[in-house]
Symmetry: C2
Subunit: 143 residues, 2 copies
DNA sequence: ATCTTTCTGAAAATCGTTTTCAATATCTTC
DNA sequence: GAAGATATTGAAAACGATTTTCAGAAAGAT
């Protein structure tokens, strides 16, 4: 709940201003657990607030990413998506190649094996991404 | 070594033609184990063959991907890269965020755990991507 | 060799993203 | 609460990577 506060602190710390658009965008972004592209969030916002601009939505999403509220993701469809980041929790994705459904998961064993691989190659991991692409429950069944 | 044959078979099967440019691009692509972007391969080719066109390189790389000789990858730098695919072998990547070094690795245990996760969510995996981002051996050390 | 079809390379178009700019809103400070 | 300084907004233009168009060239079939 204090992601709003977190964002406001971030803004004032950087000498940025708290505007009605930024409040609105954050609110809408947090409302749904979806993985928004700029376009998608822009279209959703425009229904209720026709005067909002695409650039503003995009710039604000970038700010979310910068302050850690959101993370930029790319699932190979040519659109950058922003997902809400919850504290230190880390998760990966199952992506349905047919309907676009995105499911999040976490697997501690996989994480550990990743660390092992990295150390074998003398790498210091900063972050990672793991995505499994395939057919979801619904798209698997014939009809 | 029969990736050349594989490509030729693919071409004739689709009613496409075997041209000097396609031969050249495939040869150069296979020569190095690098992860080429269209731009990089284009620049490399142009040194020896100044008349080759960017579009031709790009179209040919797409053909490689289509016939399974290459795979498209995206490491988050805004450029699509094409990497040589060796038969059924599957591998993932360690990417150095400082110098751009890309190391390939394979880990059977991780693959198995992925399958497990997928089945828990009723997914049928078609493919996956796993990338570990961090500092490589050289970039870790102070100087 | 001729004919049909595909291919090539240059340039233009496209797509998502980012920047520019004049008008507007926010945040001081008085 | 008004004035001034600074950041923000939205529309449009710019941008970079990728894709398409098109007329001339090359490949493969007849």
């Amino acid at each position: 709940m204090d992601r709003v506060k977190l964002f406001n602190d971030f803004l004032s710390q950087k000498g940025l201003k708290s505007t009605s658009q930024r409040k609105l965008i954050l609110e809408t972004f947090l409302e749904s657990a979806s993985h928004y592209s700029t376009e998608e969030l822009y279209l959703k916002l425009r229904k209720e607030h026709p005067r909002i601009g695409y650039a503003t939505v995009h710039r604000t999403l970038k700010l979310f990413a910068e302050c850690g509220i959101a993370a930029e993701r790319n699932f190979g469809d040519g659109q950058t998506r922003f997902e809400s980041v919850h504290a230190d929790e880390h998760h990966d994705h199952l992506v349905c190649t047919k309907c676009g459904l995105i499911i999040e998961f976490e697997d501690q064993k996989i994480e550990e094996l990743q660390k092992l691989v990295a150390s074998q190659h003398n790498f210091k991991i900063e972050n990672h991404r793991l995505e499994l692409y395939g057919l979801c429950k619904h798209c698997r069944s014939p009809k």
